[in-house]
């Protein structure tokens, strides 16, 4: 993973995320219809179902209901706010601090006990999401 590759992936992902958020805000019936193909195919929500609704609740300032909708929403929202600025600052100062942090956190996440704890959390969140009927 080179610096420019990572930063273009982040830029692309954040741009499409903001586009999707705008589309979901201006055309609520589109996102209300439920875009998730996993949910359409299997009838049960995927682990990240409800993230758009959670981010929208967060934008309205309703932190508690956003957490109840899907805790992933807060992670996604903070990444979407922080990462683009970090990328631009890195590019201006021609450093690679974000790349270094990314690689360090990757190797941290790969340590077995951290990975298994996080996997259990994701599955627990998924089961909670299914029982909420997202």
């Amino acid at each position: 993973m080179t610096r420019n590759k990572l930063y273009s992936i982040i830029g692309l992902a954040c741009a499409s995320g903001f586009l999707w958020l705008a589309a979901a805000s201006f055309f609520p019936h589109v996102s209300g219809f439920g875009i998730c193909p996993f949910k359409h195919a299997t009838g049960i929500p995927c682990p990240s179902c409800g993230v758009t609704r959670a981010v929208k609740l967060l934008l309205e300032g309703d932190l508690w209901h956003s957490l109840l909708m899907n805790p992933f929403g807060i992670i996604v929202a903070s990444l979407m706010v922080v990462l683009p600025f970090w990328c631009v600052i890195d590019l201006i100062r021609s450093r690679a601090t974000l790349l270094n942090i990314y690689q360090k956190s990757e190797s941290t996440l790969r340590r077995p006990w951290i990975a298994s704890v996080l996997a259990v959390l994701v599955v627990a969140n998924w089961i909670w999401g299914i029982s909420k009927g997202l």
Partner: protein, 112 residues
């Protein structure tokens, strides 16, 4: 390493690398010190075909990216439901090449 060992390694592991990387791998191995040969021979490469199967089955949850060691991208895929399935479908075609790139990175880290 002597050329017999190198040939053996190339025969067993050529499917784990891109075709254009094979020449480089071979050169590196020929120039490699004998003390490092045991490390090279115990490297566990990821199979691109397995990665493709994992991608077809668990691509929506980013499991393919976790499998090849791209943990950061795996988390991103998990949080966005496979990039709203768009990224998942793109990855069906990219994952075998990405696996080979990762194997090459692992090889280079072991050699240097």
């Amino acid at each position: 390493m002597d050329s017999q060992k190198v040939d053996m390694f190339m025969m067993m592991n050529s499917k784990y690398f891109e075709a254009h990387q094979l020449g480089h791998v071979r050169e590196k191995l020929m120039a490699l010190d004998d003390s490092k040969s045991s490390i090279i021979q115990t490297l566990q490469f990821k199979d691109p075909t397995t990665a493709l199967i994992v991608s077809l089955l668990g691509g929506a949850l980013g499991i393919d990216r976790f499998y090849i060691g791209d943990t950061g991208l795996g988390v991103a895929k998990l949080l966005t439901c496979g990039g709203l399935y768009v990224w998942m479908i793109i990855d069906w075609f990219l994952i075998m090449g990405a696996t080979r790139e990762k194997n090459f990175e692992m090889f280079q880290q072991a050699v240097y």
